[in-house]
Symmetry: C2
């Protein structure tokens, strides 16, 4: 058989084919297509389908594939499928699942189903899962699998090689065997590539990497992903406070964390929760988005009440009303540029106490420079448009003030929120726009009132 | 020696210590600290430092570490350091670098330096790099390394094991040996864990995975990262059109692509380029941000010219001027929520021709539902605030129109931009806000003019 060269259109085409078959009611055909697809591809198909189609497809999936498919799905989609499954089908689907994924699913089950699933497992598995359930979400423990291969330091490579041959298959993404003492304390690691290339008579003790870095089980998951990224790890051992080997984290789970963290910043800045399901139902989606719109309504009313303070000016000069949205708009964009940069810097750990002040100073300088440039431009534009120099002076003064404030606020707000333990990606954008709107209106309408009245 | 348990504060503390030592002028001490730090940590430190400090630190880095540190840095920072280096130090720094990183650096050099660096390499390396340079940026070829270990199908595992022992060390993140025929055509792969656990007398042909998926050298890099994510690969072979093995891509390079793609969406939506340097110089930063502000100035002027069309209404009713910013503001937020969701769906490949229409319909429905909710709320608020029911009716009518349009535009704009091959993350936000501003003002001021005048 020839090698399977990947067609870049495959998944898009599969999606189309399955949808066509579904809408023509060719259910037997769909069932066959699903049967022949890789679990990861079925997961992709489910994730890309509207809620109703998703449920129909899920009914057609082979029962022994369901577990592996669930492992591949994002949380929101996983939850919606699990909630429709009976205790028995859940128990059979979860058999043989990785401990971290199994623990996630068990966490979201009602108590009765939970017990039933637990009962269906053998003692060793049940013990492992109960262990996994004891680690809080978003820590190294919740990312960890217990499928490590541990060896002793005082035996020779030759013995290990024979042991591995008897043992048979190694867990996926195994790149290191961990060396432990009698009490399971982690002493070091031996890369399996080293086992292949070294002299078989040497003992593990002489071969092992004692500098192997281990991850404490309570480390935050985003810290874990940063370490994987920085050190290009494929897997890393996880230990408890006494240095005892508990399990290992593999790069595929870390990739999910990296993706989620990065998406979190983007979606939160737009006022969306990050586990939101693109194809979820309308009412649920509407409700989930309303919080942000509520907050924005208050922000917009605050801005309107600023304008309201200058009602007299607005009554006399319609031109002022026409021009008054320009300065807040420019401030919002300039401030958001700074904000996005600082939020990314915070997420990557680049910004800390040692350089925060420098950064605020830099962004303030950029804000002032921006202010000068755009004040000049808007002066020319408004002068040409309205033909009156007083309006042009007013708006360019307000522009300088607001863009300077925008630079300062764009840098200072996320740093401040971080200090207060509030997620800067979530609250930063709204706080910033409120400030640039209020200051922008205040500066322009205030100046206008002082000068014109 | 005990195992190195990671302190989660390490890099933050290192940053602080180096900065303190620098500012007290203890340069010898700093040089020593840098000497003892891992290359990845030095890279992190450089990335987290203001431009001037970065240059001072770079002078102090051991010359034989410079290559590895450059490999770890993001493009903008890498470029700024390279531009300061002499041809000789570049040549020595790049010796032994991975082909993909080396190709990146060579691409950004002036011709004379480029030739000098090429001359300093041995024939085989030079050939490899010239090959790597021939692949366009953002394709599988540019991510690829040529450090594959290839074997023949007709020999036994035992022979391979002896060969590997003679060969010594394997390239980093090697999890599969590739099986090729005489003409380097890829036939399959053997996981190195399989080599450890199988019967040594078996031939490679019987053992190899013929279903091994290979990546065509011209595949887009974001497609490559999607495949790695979906199939949990650690490495994958890269082939040309004839199925010839060219090299391999490893997960560490793919993680960078995933991170960059996800950050790209977030930063572009805020109007920033994604290789922007958080600690770059003020003037350069100001210039790079001005494009977006220019575009926004036009958008803001367009909105102002809409208001200008209703100058008569604004002259007579200052209240209308005060309330006119609320509807565009709500439309912008609602539209951006949809936009962020659709942009993420497009980036993950979840949205295609088969479900685009469904999605637009769903978002339109959410927009209308949102419109009803917020129209009702703003009606109550404005009635209570201004005490006049006519203003309240006007603003709630405009709100319903604008939020429905926002839902439609938030979904349709990115899909349309994607069809036109324009990056939706970059252009989507500005296009959306322009539409919600213009429609919001038009609806409110238009209704007011019809009803009140």
């Amino acid at each position: 058989m020839a090698l399977d060269v990947l067609d870049t259109q495959t998944s898009e085409e599969q999606l189309l084919q399955v949808n066509q078959a579904l809408s023509s009611g060719m259910f037997v055909h769909v069932r066959q297509m699903l049967h022949h697809m890789a679990c990861a591809d079925v997961a992709f198909l489910l994730e890309s389908s509207p809620t109703k189609t998703r449920m129909v497809l899920w009914q057609m999936v082979d029962h022994d594939q369901q577990g592996e498919i669930l492992e591949e799905l994002p949380e929101d989609v996983k939850d919606s499928l699990i909630s429709q499954m009976s205790a028995e089908s859940l128990a059979s689907a979860t058999a043989g699942m990785d401990t971290d994924d199994l623990a996630y699913i068990l966490r979201s089950l009602p108590d009765s189903v939970y017990q039933e699933v637990l009962q269906s497992m053998d003692t060793q598995d049940r013990h492992r899962v109960e262990q996994a359930l004891s680690y809080p979400d978003d820590t190294a423990g919740s990312l960890m699998n217990t499928d490590t291969v541990a060896i002793r330091p005082d035996i020779s490579v030759d013995v290990i090689l024979r042991y591995l041959r008897i043992r048979g298959e190694l867990p996926e993404a195994t790149d290191t065997l961990y060396v432990v003492d009698k009490r399971d304390k982690l002493l070091g690691g031996v890369a399996i590539t080293t086992l292949l290339t070294c002299d078989p008579n040497i003992t593990i003790k002489k071969l092992m990497n004692q500098e192997l870095e281990a991850i404490p089980v309570d480390m935050e998951d985003s810290k874990v992903s940063m370490l994987f990224e920085r050190h290009d790890w494929v897997s890393a051992p996880v230990i408890d406070n006494d240095g005892k080997l508990l399990g290992r984290i593999t790069i595929d789970d870390v990739v999910d964390v990296i993706r989620e963290d990065a998406e979190h910043s983007m979606l939160s800045m737009a006022g969306m929760e990050d586990d939101v399901d693109t194809f979820g139902p309308v009412f649920k989606s509407t409700l989930r988005r309303s919080l942000w719109l509520t907050v924005n309504l208050f922000a917009a009313l605050l801005a309107a009440s600023v304008s309201s303070m200058f009602e007299g000016t607005l009554e006399q000069f319609a031109t002022i009303a026409i021009l008054m949205t320009i300065v807040p708009s420019m401030g919002g964009v300039a401030g958001n540029q700074t904000l996005a940069l600082v939020i990314r810097g915070l997420a990557l750990g680049h910004i800390g106490d040692s350089n925060a002040r420098w950064l605020i100073g830099k962004e303030l300088a950029i804000g002032f420079l921006n202010g000068l440039i755009w004040a000049l431009l808007i002066f020319v534009v408004v002068w040409l448009w309205k033909g009156e120099v007083s309006f042009a002076i007013l708006i360019s003064g307000a522009m300088l003030v607001n863009l300077t404030v925008a630079g300062l606020a764009g840098a200072a707000i996320p740093l401040l929120l971080k200090k207060l333990n509030i997620d800067p990606a979530l609250a930063g954008g709204m706080a910033l726009t409120t400030i640039t709107d209020v200051i922008g209106l205040f500066a322009f309408l205030g100046l206008a009132t002082l000068v014109l009245l």
